[in-house]
């Protein structure tokens, strides 16, 4: 040994990278979204991990005043029961014709009191109204007023277990997605049943849609059907965002 150095820059860098790699590798135990060896998904995971590690706790997204409300495009599914759709959802059409009186949102998985909530049940819980910006991955944005019950209230009522890590949600137009508990328990994350002072319109996700104000629009799923609390990451199969080529984390 010619020179003795306790910690060279190179060693420090390698040590840092190894520990960062260790963090990412814990993704294999399903605490992080899977990458399937895809370099784009690795980048998504790096962004997600960096946001969670570097940003301060649950800050509120900006809220606007009533005069800031803008026109609002309805894209994607605009009616799951529409007979012109390739696979119209008959159940949804039936619920729609009955003014959603028979609609139930089921809460399952890691909760002590699994069950289903009608629209009346949800409206009985303390509500929150917020005027926020919907930011679409396409590049447009729109401001709307949302009224609903914070998801955290419902998870509380259902008795979420301490092992819970992710909340998956399923829709009547055949999508599955999930958020981590950080976003699920965010005070602005709502099960929204009202928009701009009225009942949520069909094109915007009636009777209840999710609002995740800290992520892009596609995480705020319309036409909610079912919520499942999990302790591991679930990619939702071919109905989930990842297998459809989209980043699971949409905070950027």
């Amino acid at each position: 040994m010619k020179t003795i150095q306790l910690l060279t820059r190179r060693k420090a860098l390698i040590a840092g990278l190894t520990s960062a790699g260790g963090l990412l590798l814990t993704g294999c135990s399903k605490k992080l979204p899977p990458t399937y060896g895809n370099i784009l998904r690795m980048g998504d995971t790096l962004t997600y991990a960096a946001h969670r590690a570097l940003l301060p706790g649950q800050s509120l997204a900006r809220e606007y005043s009533h005069k800031d409300i803008t026109s609002f495009p309805a894209i994607g599914t605009t009616n799951p029961g529409d007979p012109k759709r390739p696979r119209p959802n008959e159940t949804y059409r039936h619920l729609h014709s009955g003014a959603f009186a028979d609609w139930r949102l089921s809460i399952e998985g890691l909760v002590t009191r699994p069950g289903s909530y009608s629209l009346v049940d949800l409206k009985r819980l303390p509500s929150r109204t917020q005027i926020t910006r919907h930011t679409c991955e396409e590049g447009w944005s729109a401001i709307g007023e949302w009224t609903g019950v914070p998801l955290s209230r419902v998870l509380d009522a259902a008795g979420m277990l301490p092992t819970a890590r992710f909340v998956s949600y399923y829709s009547y137009d055949d999508w599955v997605d999930s958020i981590d508990l950080f976003d699920a328990l965010h005070p602005q994350t709502l099960l929204a049943y009202g928009m701009n002072g009225r009942d949520l319109p069909i094109p915007h996700g009636a009777p209840v849609r999710l609002r995740v104000e800290t992520q892009l629009g596609y995480k705020s799923m319309k036409y909610l059907q079912r919520i499942v609390v999990r302790n591991e990451f679930d990619d939702g199969g071919d109905k989930g965002s990842i297998q459809n080529g989209w980043s699971w984390y949409a905070g950027i």
Partner: protein, 256 residues
Amino acid sequence: MAESPQPQEQRGPAGHTRWVRISHWIVSVSFLTLAFSGFVILMAHPRLYWGEAGNNLTPALLELPISRNHQHGGWEERAPFFQDAASPISANRTYGIFNQNGWGRSLHFLAAWFLVVPGAVYLLAGLFTGHFRRHLVPRAGELTPRLIAQDLRSHLRLQIRSATGGPHYGLMQKCAYSGVVFLALPLAVVTGLAMSPTITAAYPLLSGIFGGFQSARTIHFFASAVLVLFLLVHVVMIIKSGFRRQMRAMTFGKTT
């Protein structure tokens, strides 16, 4: 680092230092990827706005004819939200738009890591080694109207000095590099971050200083356009001043 220039620098080209060469090429590849994926993302919604919100149902600042989504007009069932005549509306999209943002966005943000991290290391290194002070920022005595006019004239006549193979830059060159390193690239990064719903929730000022999400997006576009323009001029200048020699100098260091 010494205040006065090294004796060898006075004699001839010192060559680009290794950290300059490495960061130059990482950022170059990253920028090309960002420009390409950014264009793909813009194609999904080729309209620019000012303020917080903007969409197909609100007026645009600028509409770019760069994909079939340009003025597609496929909207139906327009319904007002409120009673008054000026009420904002809802409308359903009936047009299948071009949208490759699934991979486009992920590629954009992956490439952005290779701009932000090496870029930050480069800025720190440039500051602490004196590289910026000695080579990149125009000296106070250089910025006289006469010298600026002189260098501008020779550039317009395409009288480009042959390559020095190292950091001994002309006045226009210093201004262009400083503009890219200290203004355009940082502005592109910060306006990029100002579009993130998570980051702006944590730091609302980030979006506020640009006047909102859509303003940040518009500035992001123009900063990127300026950078692409710089890249074109940069490549022309490299060719005019000796392409092979310049490429060797930026890749392997000293050429002599």
